[in-house]
């Protein structure tokens, strides 16, 4: 066999065939999704600064980031779920519910609990929704779309029940001022968003959990046959998603200094849109948090630009929808080129 081994050597350096090089080109393209988004963001910022006087101010830019941060945190959770090949339609409702729970627990009109235990309870309850999702999606084989759509309705009902469809206010001042605070000129909300984003990106690119998510997203069968514990990982994905939404809910209440029954409404779509604009693919195994952060910012930036350019909000909705469509079309075209 030694001789046969030697004979192998001519095959070690064959002419690289064309498809292989095409593939290499693809990798470069994929890497640049984030770069393209960054450039688009910068171009809009520069253009807006030149066109309008009101856009480029510390106040406006700070506000822009603050507006983006809550959707931004939810979009991180959506991205992880989408990469795993799933979808979570309940993120807005989880955000709304946890926002309401925090308010009900702390409001002097209601339970008047101290801040820390209230927040702890809020996060635990919010995260339990993720456990429920893991249970119903993994153990009952319910497609994530249906499972979380059901949750969306259930949780919206729960919000109305516990709030009696009222706005809950009169919250501790230390809690409501958190969202107004800043460190070294950076708003607290933005710090929370970006810290969570950095952690999530690290887990996705360096964590074994993150690697597993991509494999699950590319094929559940391959993941299972590779020894990935499907139950454990499915639970973990939806628990992480619900946990992030709980944080977003708490920030929402802090920012509004109250909780409204419709809080977080429509956030699920905004979050999914941000993830998709950021390069995540609904068929799974593709996407990054960096892309999602840039996608979230781009969506907020365009909304803000619309206000400064005094474009009708109705028209802005159309523009936002068109932007999302274009992003997906470009993604498709790139896929086809591969």
């Amino acid at each position: 066999m030694e001789s046969a081994k030697n004979m192998k050597s001519p095959m070690v350096t064959p002419p690289a065939s064309a498809p292989v090089r095409g593939g290499e080109r693809k990798r470069v393209l994929t890497l640049s999704t984030e770069l393209v988004l960054l450039i688009i963001n910068l171009v809009i910022i520069i253009a807006m600064s030149l066109i309008t006087d009101s856009f480029l101010s510390v106040y406006n830019i700070g506000n822009l980031f603050k507006q983006a941060s809550i959707i931004g945190i939810i979009a991180i959770s959506s991205t992880m779920v989408i990469i795993s090949g799933g979808i979570d339609l309940s993120v807005g409702a989880v955000t709304g519910l946890t926002a309401m729970i925090a308010a009900v627990l702390m409001s002097s009109d209601r339970m008047g609990m101290a801040i820390l235990p209230a927040l702890l309870i809020t996060v635990v309850l919010g995260t339990l929704i993720g456990v429920y999702h893991g249970f119903i999606i993994y153990d009952f084989h319910i497609p994530p779309f249906i499972a979380t759509l059901g949750s969306l309705y259930i949780l919206r009902g729960v919000i109305k029940l516990i709030s009696e469809a009222q706005t809950i206010a009169r919250l501790p001042e230390a809690f409501t001022t958190f969202s107004q605070g800043e460190v070294l000129g950076i708003p607290n909300m933005v710090i929370v968003w970006l810290v969570l984003a950095v952690i999530a990106q690290f887990i996705l690119s360096n964590g074994t959990f993150g690697r597993n998510i991509y494999v699950i997203g590319s094929s559940r069968e391959v993941a299972r046959l590779s020894g990935i514990k499907m139950r454990q990982n499915t639970y973990a994905i939806y628990i992480a998603a619900a946990f992030l939404c709980s944080i977003a809910g708490i920030l929402l209440t802090s920012r509004l200094a109250s909780a409204v029954p419709g809080g977080g409404g429509g956030y699920e779509m905004a979050a999914i849109a941000a993830a998709v604009v950021g390069g995540a693919s609904l068929s799974g195994a593709k996407g990054s948090i960096v892309g999602t952060v840039l996608g979230t910012f781009l969506m907020a930036l365009i909304a803000n630009a619309g206000v400064h350019l005094k474009i009708s909000p109705f028209l802005m909705e159309i523009i936002t929808g068109a932007l999302l469509t274009i992003a997906v079309v470009i993604d498709q075209l790139r896929n086809r080129k591969r």
Partner: protein, 508 residues
């Protein structure tokens, strides 16, 4: 060239280079109407480049294409179709959610009135066309509900209904069962009788000898030779392709059989297999042979915890193990190289590195964080050892050739250092060169006192590589044959022992 050759497709002096590579170098090839011409060569030999030039996907740098002696300029697949030149690829280009009939008429459905489809007409006409080609498929059925074999028949029928004169088949049997392959061959023969010229690309030698009339061998972008099939032997063809003889292919260094690693006792999973018992020792290759539906794949998957088991025991190194999920089998030192690498073995949209390390991130991480440097160095080492042809370890697996993909699917378990490797048809859709490399990997494993169960439908491969061969028929073990006693007749007899209808079907 003189335009005086009716009924032929001829390419002359084709050159094609990509940056840094001469993909085709002075390639000549002639296919006559009513002839099936095999095009063989290892991956990277230039077969697909040549086909893509014929189909107008790539543009040639130099050379001519003649159809019936007249030079044809082909710049796109549409132009190729206009010249009656069509290709059938492994991946089907057909709408899976639509019916067979609809697929036939996509873009020009017969109408009863503007905007009103004449469904009766659709199904009747499609039905007639299918019947004319001897294809027995109801045109009302959805493509999705057809078997892979029926799908490819329908695809071919759809293409042929246009004015096809020359058809190119690129690995058409890769996804088919024996029966379907048989039907496909009948269809191809019928096309030949209808005076179509056919270029047939396959890695499977037995197919080439069965249906082709002539053959052209490519190596490194050059034509090594063009022969009538009757003039060559399988051994000669393979040595033309790889520059080495066939005897050396299966000639691996045997392992020293050591202690028993795996013992299976009375394993049953109705209705797939029942009462399967065998032992597997260190340094041993246990062949698993059987016809379609014999239960081999199910058995491997059951041992691996991927399929349900009704009763029976799996004993690993003396300890009875309850394996319910693959991760438990993996923990116990078992690995599975599944039958279909595209849907079971590999995460296609992910990188070589990601795929190789999936099974063993535990070894190169602490507290759930992967040591990227360790990951990279180990992957690169593996890529080099297995001579996996990839531009980098970050390459997406989907873009590798079949052989290189398969090596990645095996490398997954080498990284994990699995003691027992269950290999289900590890050389399907893999070129000859990669086959030899996979055999060398098996050799390396048994030399390192690991054990392999090799499930293969290709008799020379099972016989050549195995120390012992377990033969299955309809879910039962019908015999265990040692290396010395093994021959094709014996294995086939055992494999068809329980067949009620008595017709000894051919192996998969």
């Amino acid at each position: 060239m003189i335009p005086n050759e009716p009924g032929s497709l001829r390419v002359a002096g084709i050159h094609k280079s990509f940056p840094g590579v001469q993909a085709l170098d002075d390639v000549n090839l002639e296919v006559k109407s009513g002839e099936i011409h095999a095009l063989v060569g290892e991956n990277g030999a230039g077969k697909s480049t040549l086909i893509k030039i014929l189909m107008g996907v790539y543009q040639k740098d130099a050379g001519e294409i003649y159809i019936d002696g007249v030079e044809a300029h082909i710049h796109s697949p549409v132009e190729a179709a206009r010249h009656g030149l069509h290709a059938v690829y492994q991946d089907l280009v057909i709408a899976p959610e639509l019916s067979v009939g609809e697929n036939f008429f996509i873009g020009n459905l017969p109408m009863r009135a503007p905007g009103v489809v004449n469904w009766k007409g659709v199904y009747r006409q499609a039905g007639e066309k299918l019947k004319a080609l001897g294809i027995n498929v109801d045109p009302r059925r959805k493509i999705l509900d057809l078997s892979p074999g029926e799908q490819s028949m329908v695809t071919i029928a759809k293409i042929v209904q246009g004015q096809a004169r020359f058809m190119i088949f690129d690995e058409p049997t890769a996804r088919l069962t024996t029966d379907e392959t048989r039907q496909l061959f009948e269809l191809i023969q019928r096309l030949k009788q209808n005076n179509l010229g056919i270029i047939y690309i396959s890695h499977r030698m037995e197919e080439i000898f069965e249906i082709c009339d002539s053959v052209t061998v490519l190596r490194d972008g050059r034509v090594v030779g063009s022969e009538q099939i009757s003039q060559v032997t399988e051994g000669r063809l393979i040595s033309m392709m790889v520059g080495r003889t066939i005897e050396e292919m299966y000639n691996i260094r045997r392992g020293q059989a050591g202690e028993v690693l795996l013992e299976v006792r009375g394993l049953t999973s109705a209705p797939h297999f029942k009462d399967v018992s065998f032992t597997l020792r260190q340094g041993e290759v246990l062949g698993l042979f059987g016809l379609v539906g014999a239960g081999r794949t199910n058995l491997l998957r059951a041992i691996f915890g991927a399929n349900r088991v009704d009763r029976g025991q799996v004993v690993l190194q003396g300890k009875t193990c309850l394996i319910r999920e693959p991760h438990q089998a993996i923990l116990a030192g078992i690995g599975l190289v599944p039958e279909d690498r595209k849907t079971q073995g590999l995460a296609m949209p992910l990188s070589v590195s990601h795929n190789m390390n999936i099974t063993s991130y535990k070894d190169i991480s602490s507290a759930g964080v992967v040591h990227r440097r360790q990951e990279r160095s180990r992957t690169e080492k593996m890529v080099q050892e297995l001579s996996i042809r990839t531009p980098s370890v970050r390459q997406i697996v989907e873009h590798l050739s079949g052989g290189n993909q398969q090596k990645v699917a095996i490398a997954k378990w080498l990284c994990r250092d699995a003691d027992i490797l269950l290999m289900d048809e590890p050389t399907t859709g893999v070129d000859v060169g990669a086959k030899v490399e996979i055999y060398a990997l098996i050799e390396g494993l048994i030399q390192r006192r690991k054990a392999v169960i090799l499930c293969s439908s290709y008799l020379p491969e099972v016989i050549g590589l195995s120390d012992r061969i377990l033969v299955m028929a309809e879910g039962n073990v019908t015999g265990e044959v040692t290396r010395q006693d093994a021959n094709e007749e014996l294995l086939l007899t055992l494999a068809s022992r329980l067949s009620e209808n008595g017709t000894a079907a051919k192996p998969e």
